[in-house]
Symmetry: C2
Subunit: 343 residues, 2 copies
DNA sequence: TTGTAAGCGTTATCAT
DNA sequence: ATGATAACGCTTACAA
């Protein structure tokens, strides 16, 4: 019942633990014969190397920590998958913590990861985190840091971000091109640089077309469904005929609100969201949105960790991933083709 | 840069590491004065306990492993969240592996978890796994096992399952009550007991109403969207006017296919899915489905682990969670209220 | 209350 | 090619 160790194998074979260790490590300095007998005995006993002991002794860890606000958001779970796709083949495993968008949970998560001696931390901070002080304090440079999507630019390490400015710029421009004249925005929590950049892109698009930026129809708030419904009601009262939403759940709320108020979408009210959550394709009308490239970001974040870890790139890298505008139905006044055929 | 250890604290304070260890452990056998100075020094140096060393020495682990087919499925990510909600407060962390529905990845994941000395494994096996032999072989009883949703009943440990039979029974009965006369099923991969039970429930409902079970309209296959589209086309050719789908993605495919063929849903074609994925509420018409209680299952799985681990319950427990039928639009011939107001 | 010493399982260094 | 030994950081009898 107790797990077999290299000592058990050594005893059974009348050799020393060091030889067993060498044989199992694929070390050259061991005879073919002993290696075979060791391997046979190991699988016979169901031996598995104790990573705790191994990592402790070697002073390095094969575990990478990850902190995300919520694991059950498509975006984050796809980033995780993307990171895993790179890290697993490279011999690393992921220890995942959720911050639930709370600062306290994020701190706790960071501590857990550090205590578990992770080689690096890949994270996207919670919306309650106003700066990276707690991250700097807990990590103290003892671990490679990679931030993605929501990043604090003053922290060391790699950063993988979307080109939020250009994305929001394109989305807003697209609404303008489609004839909407008073375009507001559900802007998201502006503590996050990602949301601030989207807001800047939105403003810039309006200005580039000679339209005025009106603070009365800019709604900074969390991009959840309920808030989307709530804020959209106000936006409509204030004469908006379209919204650029910095999150898809907010866009969903906007759609529900607009239709609930008897407005025809997209004829009377236009919407573009952000994230390309799976449901955006499935609503009626389907929601135009910005692709966040979650899986790709996960790939790049993991690769950035590997690069930093092997000292290939010492300097702090910032990778900017372009966002793609996916034009569906909520923003186009003439019919477009659609994956669910409308009868 | 190198992480501080209890030795560093001890040296700085001119005491021994054992005293530091006791002070940090909240041990009573240490003076209030030294405890305070130790705690102050620890936070000054940014000390965090090395869990690897601690676990190795204590012979117990604070990590629980989890293996799921895919982390980016709502169901699984919600089970993970549910498990975390119980395990984190209890002092445990989750190490998560994905099997990607592949047997090889599942084996590799199991090995990783065992090697990381996890205290227990909470898992739902891949669809490629035909039996639990590989699980028994790799775990060898060295770890507490909790299976959920997809379980091998011959393995030791706790099992948390949905009442798939009753759920599918109710769903099919509901379709019959709504006047559908030739009801097929997209049955899912029948290597999994969960899917077999759903099929049994489906059959039983038909029989209870004196309807014949026709193998020609039973489609065992993976419950992905494409397969749903594909199989539904055949089902319609064979005269089906409704489908019970053992998965929501298959149900989504069924909806797309039926509408693509010009059938009115629900008037001419009825659909009930399984899992209550978020999009089922957002399609037009919205998809009736069975609630799988993901978060709740995660709670129970975690609790089962804690119970087994503290030897409260030694015997193997099977917990059956009831499924709830959520009646939306795809299965009801008269209008029902709906979260997205229809204009 | 504090110190001493041994050991968890593995691996690196030095011998043989 | 193999063995002996020490050490990674922490905990815990046992001793003082």
């Amino acid at each position: 019942m107790a797990k077999p160790t290299i000592n058990d194998i050594a005893k059974a074979l009348n050799i020393t633990p060091s030889t067993v260790s060498r044989a199992l490590a694929g070390n050259t300095r061991v005879s073919e014969a002993t290696r075979l007998s060791v391997e046979r005995k190991a699988s016979e006993l169901g031996y598995e190397r104790n990573i705790l002991a191994s990592s402790l002794r070697r002073g390095v860890s094969d575990t990478v920590g990850m902190i995300v606000p919520r694991i059950n958001r498509q975006f984050f779970s796809n980033v995780i998958s993307g990171a895993e796709a790179i890290l697993n083949p490279a011999g690393y495993n992921l220890l995942i913590c959720q911050s639930h968008e709370r600062l306290e949970d994020e701190k706790r998560g960071l501590q857990t990861l550090i205590r578990n001696q992770v080689a690096g931390i890949i994270m996207s901070h919670s919306l309650e985190s106003e700066n990276g002080n707690h991250i700097a304090e807990i990590t103290r440079g003892s671990v490679k840091l990679v931030q993605f999507d929501r990043v604090f630019s003053d922290l060391p390490g790699a950063k993988i971000v979307n080109d939020n400015f250009t994305g929001a710029f394109l989305a807003t421009k697209h609404l303008i091109k489609n004839g909407y004249r008073r375009i507001g925005t559900l802007a998201g929590g502006l503590v996050s640089a990602a949301y601030r950049e989207r807001l800047d892109g939105y403003k810039s698009a309006l200005e580039s077309e000679g339209m005025t930026v009106d603070d009365d129809i800019i709604f900074p708030d969390t991009v959840v469904r309920d808030k989307g419904i709530e804020r959209t009601a106000i936006a409509i009262e204030r004469g908006c005929d379209a919204l650029y939403c910095a999150g898809d759940y907010a866009a969903l709320g906007a759609l529900e609100c607009a239709r609930g108020k008897g407005l025809e979408v997209p004829r009377q009210f236009g919407i573009v969201g952000t994230a390309n959550e799976i449901f955006t394709e499935l609503t009626t009308p389907s929601i135009s949105t910005l692709e966040l490239n979650a899986f790709d970001m996960g790939n790049r974040a993991a690769q950035a960790f590997l690069d930093i870890n092997s000292q290939n790139k010492t300097g702090l890298v910032t990778v900017t991933v372009p966002m793609r505008l996916i034009i569906r139905e909520t923003s186009v006044r003439k019919p477009v083709t659609h994956t669910i055929a409308e009868i």
